[in-house]
Symmetry: C2
DNA sequence: GGGAGTTAGTTCTAACACGAACTATTATAG
DNA sequence: CTATAATAGTTCGTGTTAGAACTAACTCCC
C-alpha cells in the first residue's frame, strides 16, 4: 500500500511543480490562476460556488479574491437575490488575461499527458476515481465516529 | 486531458483530507507527521535528506523542525563529519509518538486501498510513475528555456 | 595553501491553508 | 409573527509554502 501512496503523492506534486512553474509566468499564483480559470466563460458566481469548484475554503477565498480585485482582474457585486451572497466576476481585463493564459497552459502540459497511450489515460482515470471514492468514504467514516 | 488532471487532483485531495483528518487526532500537523514518520526507525538524518524524502523545501523545514523541537519530539545535533550539516533525530518521546501513530494511521487508510484489487493497485502505480516521469521532464524543459 | 565557487541551514516576505469566532441575512418552527 | 436555526462572507490565529537573500563551512583548482 505504501508504494501506491508514495507514487500518488509524487505524481501529484510533479504535476503541481510543472503546472505552478508555468503558471507563475503569467504573474498569477496557482490559487489565483485557479479562480481566474474557474470564472472564465461564466457570468460570475458566488463565493460558495467558487469554493466548491476550486476546493478552496471560504476563509482563504476572501484573501485570494481580495488580491485579484486589488489588481483589477475580478470584481465583487452584491447578489440581487440573496443579501448574504456576493458575486465574483472577471473584469474585462480579467477576461483578457484568462484568454491569454488558459489555452497556452493546457498546451504546455499536453506533451506530458500524451506520453501515456490513450487507453492508459482512461485506465488511470478509472483507477483514480475508484480510489478517490473509497478515500471519501473513509473520511466520512472518520467524521461519523473517529 | 483535463478529465485525468481533475481526477488526479481530486484523488490526491481526497487522500489528503482523509489522511490529514486522521493525523490531526495525534496532535501533529500533516508536515510534522511526515517528518516524524520519516525519522522513525532511523538514527536521524540531515535537513537535506529530510527535505529530499519529504519534498519539503529547506526554508519551510526550518520552521517545521523548530516547532517539533519546541515540543520535545526531535532534537538537532551538529554533524560530526560536516560542519555545515545539522542532524535531526527523534527524542525518546518522539519515538514513542511515532510508534503510537504510524501503524494505526496505515490501518486507518488500508480499507480504502484494499478496495482496489491487487492488480489494480499495481496498474495504478505503474501509470502514475509513467505520468510523473513525463511531468518531471516537462518541468526540466521549462527550466531550460521557458 | 589560498581564493572561487558550491553547499547546508537560517531568515525574510508574500501568499495560502484550515478552523473557529463573528456579523449580517435568510429560512424555519411553533 | 417571532424566536431559533442555518447560511454567506469576513476576520483572526497558527502553521505551511516557495523563493530569494544571507552566513558559515566545505571543495576544487592552480
Amino acid at each position: 500500500m505504501v508504494p501506491v501512496i508514495r507514487e500518488l503523492a509524487r505524481c501529484y506534486q510533479a504535476f503541481q511543480r510543472a503546472s505552478d512553474a508555468h503558471i507563475r509566468h503569467s504573474g498569477l499564483t496557482p490559487p489565483q490562476f485557479d479562480i481566474v480559470v474557474t470564472l472564465g466563460n461564466t457570468d460570475g458566481m458566488t463565493f460558495k460556488d467558487l469554493g466548491n469548484r476550486t476546493l478552496i475554503t471560504k476563509g482563504t477565498l476572501t484573501g485570494v479574491v481580495d488580491r485579484l480585485e486589488a489588481r483589477g482582474l475580478v470584481a465583487r457585486a452584491a447578489s440581487p437575490t440573496d443579501g448574504r451572497s456576493t458575486l465574483v466576476k472577471l473584469t474585462p481585463e480579467g477576461e483578457r488575461l484568462f484568454h491569454r493564459v488558459f489555452e497556452p497552459h493546457l498546451a504546455f502540459l499536453a506533451p506530458a499527458f500524451e506520453s501515456l497511450p490513450e487507453c492508459g489515460r482512461k485506465e488511470l482515470e478509472k483507477r483514480l476515481r475508484q480510489l478517490r471514492l473509497a478515500l471519501e468514504k473513509r473520511s466520512q467514516d472518520l467524521a461519523r465516529q473517529g
